[in-house]
């Protein structure tokens, strides 16, 4: 598991040095999300935490997503 995380980190840095423009940032963030997911599942045992906690976690993610989406709507349509 740790090895997977380290390899993902190395991949992200390697992708950076490929200099492929905006795609590189998207890949890096995707890798970051995979790493976060792995940490959540395997280190924090989210799947043991019960339905309530899992649901609230998803709601908090959705909330942050909504805040970001609406802010972008506002700022870039001015």
């Amino acid at each position: 598991m740790w090895l997977a995380l380290v390899c993902l980190t190395a991949t992200a840095v390697w992708v950076y040095f490929l200099h492929i423009g905006h795609a590189g940032s998207i890949i890096a963030l995707t890798i970051a999300s995979i790493k976060a997911g792995l940490i959540l599942l395997f280190f924090m045992h989210l799947h043991y935490a019960g339905r309530l906690i899992q649901t609230i976690f998803l709601i908090s993610l959705a909330l942050v997503g909504a805040i970001v989406a609406f802010t972008f709507l506002d700022v870039f349509l001015r």
Binding site: A12, V13, V15, I20, G24, A28, A32, I39, L40, V68
Partner: protein, 185 residues
Amino acid sequence: MWLFLFTEILLFGGMFLLYAVDRAKHAAEFHAAAEGLNRFVGAANTIILLTSSLTMALSIAELRSGRRERSLMFQSLTILFGCIFLGVKYFEWTAKIGHGIFPDSPELMKLPKGQILFYGLYFVMTGLHGVHVLAGIVVLVFMLISTINRRITHHDYVRIENSGLYWHLVDTIWVYLFPLFYLIT
């Protein structure tokens, strides 16, 4: 503890939002400013925190299996890695400050606006994260002492499990900070 972690997600989420808007509006300058950061130092810090999460998880696993001494060893390693992370951060910051780049410095104000925003966000977000790491280290030291005093045992380990959750969150936040500040293409 999960509830507290959700408030932390909102706290850092707000700052990530600020980062996202500023970067969308000053994309090229963010890229230029990020050149000033050392990717390998950032990657090293990422590996350090990931390893500390591993040792944290292992310390709880060992405690639950009744192997107290090994748990103590892993807890100490986690604290050590946390301190190493802060040490590396310290050197990164002093290097930047030595070059005259810190919030509100004359050097920084000469740079284009996007770069000023980048470094402002960099200091605040990594600073806030560093404070969280420090708080986590303090908590882990308390857990270590409690394990030594046998107030945390393989029957009653809720406190150290919660401390572990907090520590993993701090690691996860850094997992996102790293690509956003160091890997801008």
